[in-house]
Point group: C2
Chain length 279, copies 2
């Protein structure tokens, strides 16, 4: 398990510098100080590696954004925190973010693109929720436009940061972006991206949306494999049993989720269960 972590970290460094296609498995294993054979003990293929890397970080960012949006502070503060969180995370995991910004990864298989699109949709959902909290019905017509304007700003500043290797003051940048968001939200009148178009985006990627229950099952199975803390293992087991019931107790579920909250690896499961039960 430790081995996988090592390979992923070292691989990201190389992917960030050279891109995915241009980095060979041999280069990765050299950089790790292991043999090529050892790589294939941890990963079935090079594709599986990039798959797991993207999964790991996208889960992390998605749950992180969701956590910020669900905070119990005033909405405007949350907007600031959202920007702050994203740029702080981008800096903390600059190699991954760099890889993601530079490589558009369109070389990869369709499945991976769809997966990325799904995470993107989850993040859209969270951001739209926050925007509704901040600006209410005022932005009813312009909310989708606003969403993409914000994403445009996020993209360009990320791009600047990574192409010029700039260390930045995330607080300062977040402050500026909140001002820009207020401007766009409060004064925009004209609309290009309407609801029909927004739905169209998501339908063009017409993959069968994976059953949430199924996602939860596989995530529980995965966690039971890797978790070591007995309390956490037991909590996940109880949670699993409870979810099988036709009328699961919200109290038990909430308690179990609380038990595993402190472990980062469990955040995706928490996010999935909460979404499933609309807690």
């Amino acid at each position: 398990m430790d081995r996988k972590q090592l390979i992923m970290e070292k691989a990201i460094e190389l992917f960030a510098a050279r891109g995915f296609d241009a980095t060979s498995v041999q280069q990765i294993t050299d950089h790790c100080g292991i043999s090529k054979g050892a790589f294939y003990l941890s990963f079935k293929s090079k594709d599986e590696l990039i798959n797991e890397i993207i999964d790991y970080f996208m889960k992390r960012f998605t749950t992180g954004v969701d956590r910020v949006v669900k905070e119990s502070t005033e909405p405007e503060r949350k907007l600031f925190n959202l920007y702050l969180y994203l740029f702080t995370e981008f800096q903390r995991h600059s190699d991954f973010a760099n890889m993601f910004v530079k490589d558009r990864l369109h070389t990869l298989n369709e499945d991976l693109l769809i997966k990325i699109h799904r995470y993107d949709q989850l993040m859209n959902h969270s951001i739209l929720h926050l925007l509704r909290e901040c600006y209410g019905t005022k932005i009813e017509k312009t909310k989708y436009e606003l969403l993409y304007n914000i994403k445009g700003l996020l993209d360009i500043y990320s791009h600047i940061i990574f192409t010029y290797h700039m260390p930045i003051d995330a607080n300062h940048l977040a402050d500026v972006l909140v001002e820009r968001t207020h401007l766009l939200a409060n004064y925009s009148q004209k609309v290009f991206i309407n609801e029909v178009m927004f739905r169209n985006f998501n339908e063009k990627m017409n993959f069968e949306i994976k059953n949430v229950q199924q996602s939860i099952d596989s995530e529980i199975k995965y966690l039971l494999d890797i978790l070591t803390n007995p309390l956490e293992v037991e909590s996940v087991e109880i949670l699993n049993k409870e979810l099988q019931k036709s009328k699961p107790s919200h109290a038990i579920i909430k308690g179990m989720l609380e038990n595993i909250k402190s472990n980062d690896q469990c955040h995706w499961l928490i996010y999935l269960v909460q979404s499933h039960l609309e807690m």
Copy 2:
């Protein structure tokens, strides 16, 4: 010469769909219906192909933007025309734009990245000029920020158009973007990107800026090679002689530029000479 055009067009189609690295020379030649050997009669290498493609389109876009900015209509109208021009061009050459948006091309040699960066700087210069015309001293502090905010918007809408293969109403989109630009220009107070940072961007790419005179010389040499219209050939020759003089006549230069204006292939030379003499 026709052969080169064919290869470039077919190659762009494949690059747009699969990316540069993932497209082999064999695939390109198959798609053209020619042999692999014939490819190397037109291009020294695969790198030279991508180089010429990028050169061709970047010259085209850069001169196009410059032309819009130098129009003699009122500034606000020019801003609209700028957006309109860019999105119209992106649609007209959607394969190239798609390739450029998807592939970040960072796999390629450093020279090409620097070249792209130079074109980017030229476009920044034009846009900043226009913004100064539109908003005057009001945006003195925020102009660099405004420039990148605009670029963020351009990026995200381009991204949407290409990933979802949407046909768009460029007039409508340009109208919306003009409104957003006005908002950001008139009400933004806080600043993240200041002049120091902006200069930093360009210094980080610390290539020796190629002598403009040198660029003009090589462009003239190139045009004399490919031009067929006798009037144009003669005009370029006269222009060349005039530029060699210590005190070239602006009247003659202006006239010669006018003579070749109608040929698209000459626009880059016109742009270079005008920049050189600040006409």
